[in-house]
Structure formats: C-alpha cells, structure tokens
Amino acid sequence: MNEKNISLIESAFKEYYFNRFDLIHVPKRATEREFGYQKFNSGMIRHLAIKNDKELHLLLMKEIPSDVYCSNAYYTFPNLPMSEKDWKGADLIFDIDAKDLALPCRKDHTIFKCSSCNSSVIEFQSQCPKCGSTKFETASVMCKNCISESKKEVTKLVDILTSDFDIKKEEIEVYFSGNEGFHIRVTNSDYEPLGSQERADLVDYIMFNGAIPESFGMKRQNNSKSSLPTLEEKGWRGRIAHRLFTSKSKTPKITKEIISSGYTAFQVQLEEIKKTMGVRVDPKVTMDIHRIFRLEGSINSKSGLSKIQCDNLDSFDPFLEACLLGDDNVQILADCPLQIKLKNKKFGPYKNELVSLPKYAAVYMLCKGLGNAI
C-alpha cells in the first residue's frame, strides 16, 4: 500500500483508538494470552504479553496497528517462544466467512482490478479490456445476501453447540469479523483442553463431514432391515429425520422409498444434506490451537470496519454498527464500480473520480483497494 494511503488510514485508526476506549478491552484471562499486531506494509509482531486494558490502549496509541490479534489459547508464559509457552488450553473458535459459502451473489460484487493498469471491472475477464494484461487482484464487498446467509450459518452453529454439545448460550460470543463474516468464541472449560486432532473431529461433526449411511441405520447388505432415525431423536440423527420425513404421517412411505433406493443412493443423499445442513465454517481456524485471532474492538484493515460483538444477530447490520470511524470529509480518488452503503448513506459508483467522502467511507475504499489518497 502506498504511503499516502497509509497515512490517511492511520490517522483515521488513530482517532478511533484514541477516542473509543469504551469499545476496546482485553478478553477474559488476558494475562494468560498471547497478543500480536501488524502495521501496514510490515510483518507480524507476536508473542506479546498484555496484562490489562491500560497496557492495550497504550500499545494501540503508540503503534497505531493495522490489525491486532489475541490468542484463543491460554499459556503459562504467553510472551516466550512457542515451544516454551506451556500451552494450557484454548477457547473453541469458529470462523464463518461469506467468501467460503459459494454464494451466487458473489460474482455481482467481486471486483477484478488489473494489476498493471489498475482499472477495475466487476465481471471476470481473462484479459484486461484496457491494457490486455492477464493479471488481476480481486476485491470484494459484502452484500445483504452475504450477511443474511452468513447469519444463517451462525444460527446453525449455535444450535448445534447448544443442543448437541450442551454449551450454554452465555458461553457463546458472536462477533462480526470486521470484514465479511463472523467469529464465534466458546468459553467452556470442558472443551478447553482439546487438542488439534480432537477439534478437527469436532469441526467435522459441525460440518457434517464423513458421515456414513450405517450411522443413520442404513445397511449395506440386507438393507430391508435398515432402521432409519426417528423424528423424536436428537443430534444429527434427529436433524436428518426431519429433513427426510418432514412429518410423522409421511414417515412410513418415505422410509420405504429410501430403503428401496438402496445404500449408495442414501450415501448420495447424505452428501446433499451436508451441503445445506452442515455448518460451513473454516476448519483450519477451529483446529488451530495456537492461533492469534483478531481482537474484538479492533479495526480490520481489510475494510476499516471494527470487529464487534453482535448482541442481536438477527437485526445486526455491520455497515451501520461496525462502521465506527470518524465522519469528517476527506478527498480521495475513487475507482469503485459498485455502489456501497455505509451508515445508511450510499456512495458511488465512482469511475476514477475525485470525491469528497466521510472518513469512514474513504477508508473503506482505500482498504478495499478501490481508491487512493491524494
């Protein structure tokens, strides 16, 4: 990123970090966690110990980081090298990203930016219409559909966590990630000691990965003796029963059909069910027990929006509630082929034009690579 853009963004971030102490706190058990941060155009600085809010605020004001992270893991010595930290356990974390949901709307708001002439187009093209280059960078913004589809995944996840794993609602924190998705953190001491492999199996359960027909009563041989799950059952068996039978009266007829179609057909059916009912989380995040995860309250430099907790997921609007930078006007050269909506105001589309925008909108475009400071 060029120096002018950095200085505009940093000044906006600085203002936020100076003025919004009320939103930025260290998580519980902060002294056992590892912290890290990044500055624009520079590498990650990690293995930091931060004891309290005061130390955190001091670091933010001094360094004006582009991104701030904190471990989900608890360590005896969080500031020592990884091998000496003495891992004690970790919160369960989940990452749901609209980019991973294969949504049909994505193509309408993914912008291809030519790497050589910088011109932007919305539709994918193999060659830049302006200069003929074949190299593109992509930038994406989130649309209403992305938000509501991501929220559905969060709801599915919370349902499995509470009903199958007996995790209490109070132990589940849902955050807007600051860019295009949601982060979920579970603090439950029973799950804290689980290692990476155990978390991988847990995430397979949540995603409905690796289910075999036998677990749902379908036999490979002699399948007339198969006994499918019932509507009264809980967990995945109950969920599958609801999906297959919809109602009690239809159960005998549908059971007959499924059994006569056979084992392989049922296996295919399970695969289909996985696509819609399995929760689409990023398994790598949940499996990683040494990750430093974006700190709540901090700004995401991919968008200029903040990672904040969603108290009411249904009504949560990230473009309103997570857009927390200042609103005094700044001039930028915007090249944004899409209209975006922030704080209930519409901006763009702009075709390489000089515009005066509120700081939050200007920073959003700069962070997305859709504009330049002048």
């Binding site: 091998s83 199958d164 007996d166 290692g195 847990l202 397979d204 075999i212 059952e233 967990g235 995945w236």
Partner: protein
C-alpha cells in the same frame, strides 16, 4: 521391606477369603511384598473375584499385604504352580494372545498371585518389549471382564465397580441412560481420535446434550490403550531388589524368549515407492509439495533417522532454507513446538493427495512404515 506398589490412595474395604489352596499365610510385617494403605473409607467392596479380574487395582496390593506373604516364601517349591502359571501368562501375552483365565478359579487367589509373580519375573528379566506385550495383553484380558461386568449388571444397578474403575483410573465419568452408556463429548473426542475407523468419528455417533452414546463394548474399547499404559506404568513403578532363587530359571527363560521375538520380523532396507518418489523429486531439484515433504520427514524419523541426517535431503528444494527446514523437522519430530511427534500419513491419505505410487510390494499395508516388514514364518 520390599514394596511393590507404593501408592496409598485407595480407600476401599477389602473382603478377603482364606485362599482355597490351603496354604497358611503368616503375617510377617517386616517382610511384606505390599505395603498396607492407611486411608480406608468403607465405600466399595471388592472381592477376590474382582481382584482376579482386575489384578492391577491398588486393592490387590492391600489384599496381599493382609496375607503377609513375602517374596522369599513365594520362591518356596510349594508355590511352584503359581510361578509356572505366571510364566505361562507371560508366554501367552508375548505371542499376542490373551491369557484365558479359568473362570472357576477366579475364586481363589492364584489368578492374582500369578499376575504379581509375572510382574516380578518381568521386572527381573528387564525386557521392555516383553513388559509392553504383557501390559497390552493383560489390558485386553481385563477389558473382556470389564465389558462383561458392564453388560451383565447394566440393569441391576450394580455397576459401581466397572464404572468406578473407569472413572478412578482414567478420569472418565460414564453414566447410564436406559440400556446405554454415555460419556461427555470432550472425554470421547480425546480417546476416539486415536481410532481410524469411520464409525468412531463423532459425526457417526449419537450425540445429545453434550453426551456420546456407547455400547458396553465400545465404552471399554475406548479406554483399552489407557488401560495398557496404566498397567505398564504400574509395572514400571515396581521395585525389585533381589530375585528369589526359585524364580531364576524362569527369568532366564524369559530372556531367551525375548530374543526369539526380537528377530521374528525381517525389515527390508528399501524405501516404499512413495518415499522413493519424493526423494527422486527432491534430487532433481523439483518442487515437492508440503504434504510430500511431510511424508518424507515422518517416514525417515520413524525409521530412526535424526533431524540432522534428514535435513540435507531438502537441500535441492527450490525454496530451501536451512533454518526453516530444521525448524519444521524438529517440530515434526516432537522435539520442539507442542511436543507432538507426527506420525507417517496413511496410504489412504497419500492416495487422496496423489502421492501414492503403489507397487505389488505394497499389498496388504495401510501405512508406508509397514513396507518391507514381513514375518519370517510367512
């Protein structure tokens, strides 16, 4: 005083019967094999039959302490049948079989005593392979009883002992829901991840309200490895100061037995085709994907090579960096990072990563490290 088991943690009353073989056991406090535990709370009654099934329980130590039997007495010719029984128990275990106890004889203490004598013989011979095999076989023997006890008494509400064994030894709380056994999801995950069969994946289990549902057989299967380790640990903690004269012959026999076992496998020095392929790619200076490098590292580490021996192999890689390579190898070997020693990926995994180049020599193996390992008698 020769103390076999030093722990005083147990808190149960022992009901012991006069041994049925008619020997009088004189209480000689100054020459006991077992130390008497002090903190007794009358919670659970464990009989000699239970000790015959689960001779590794701390209560076995108490039982023997009460008999006052000493090592020297055990080496008396009168006790020869017990020594022979003990030796037989080891021989059976070392061949990978499970020692079949005569159910009739569970009521006398020869089952328990032969287990104790077996431990003395094993410790005196001091051969780790034999101790491991014995521990595993004994774990599997007890597993059968545990499963039986769970199953038979599930509706009689008489599950205290089997459930207590599982809870006390392995900190797993097992409860009953109707006819089934339930354990907490995290307890399940920590054990089931070591099994590779699909039916053990959490997604293939019945899960409700934080609990996983299991049959008696599955419950016991889940803790087999830990039971083996527990028995192994118990044996390791035993301290034998001198071997009684009457045991010497059988100890020597064990040393001979162990030799026979150590050379039953013939290990080919040749690498499996997937490993050969990886080495060739690297030698040509071509790029080997991360999963391929991981295969090489885990395979060679499992064959006893050191990080320093393996590191030069990656020198030709286009992105070679000495420090990074060493760091990664040390991480994989478990000497740095989380301390986890990574295992060589299975043939199935390699197939899905397009790293498998199986030949007919690979028939019947499920992991590259088994390549070239054939039993002599085949």
């Amino acid at each position: 005083m020769t103390n076999l088991f030093e722990d005083n943690l147990n808190s149960y009353e022992i009901i012991w019967k006069i041994p049925s073989h008619g020997k009088t056991l004189v209480n000689q406090q100054d020459n006991q094999i077992f130390k008497l535990s002090k903190n007794k709370e009358n919670v659970l009654k464990i009989g000699i039959k239970d000790l015959a099934k689960y001779p590794f329980l701390t209560e076995a130590g108490e039982y023997l302490a009460n008999t006052g039997l000493s090592l020297e007495q055990l080496s008396h010719p009168d006790w020869k049948p017990i020594v022979e029984k003990a030796y037989g128990r080891i021989v059976v275990a070392s061949s990978g079989q499970i020692y079949g106890s005569d159910l009739e004889s569970l009521d006398n203490d020869s089952e328990l005593l032969s287990f104790i004598v077996a431990i003395i013989l094993l410790k005196s011979a001091g051969i780790a392979t034999l101790i491991r095999r014995f521990s595993l076989a004994e774990a599997r023997r007890s597993e059968r009883f545990l499963q039986q006890d769970l199953w038979v008494s599930r509706d009689k509400k008489n599950l205290e002992l089997p459930l207590k064994i599982i809870q006390d030894l392995f900190a797993v709380k097992v409860s009953i829901d109707n006819d089934e056994f339930v354990i907490k999801v995290p307890d399940y995950l920590q054990r089931a991840v070591h099994f590779h069969e699909k039916e053990w994946k959490l997604v293939n289990r019945r899960v409700t309200n934080g609990f996983v549902y299991l049959s008696a057989h599955e419950t016991v299967r889940l803790i087999r490895a830990e039971l083996g380790e527990y028995i192994n640990g118990k044996i390791q903690s035993v301290n034998i100061q001198s071997i009684p004269q009457g045991f010497k012959q059988r100890v020597e026999d064990l040393v001979i037995l162990a030799k026979k076992f150590s050379d039953t496998t013939f290990v080919s020095s040749e690498y499996p085709p997937c490993v050969k392929h990886g080495i060739e790619v690297l030698e040509k200076g071509e790029n080997l994907p991360h999963s391929g490098r991981f295969l090489l590292a885990t395979y060679l580490l499992s064959k006893g090579q050191t990080v320093d021996q393996i590191a030069p192999l990656f020198k030709n890689a286009p992105d070679y960096n000495e420090r990074t390579t060493k760091y990664q190898l040390e991480h994989i070997s478990g000497s740095s990072g989380s301390g986890t020693k990574y295992q060589c990926p299975s043939c199935e995994k390699l197939r899905s990563e397009s790293l498998c180049f199986a030949t007919s020599d690979c028939d019947g193996i499920i992991n590259p490290i088994q390549f070239g390992k054939k039993r002599k008698n085949k």
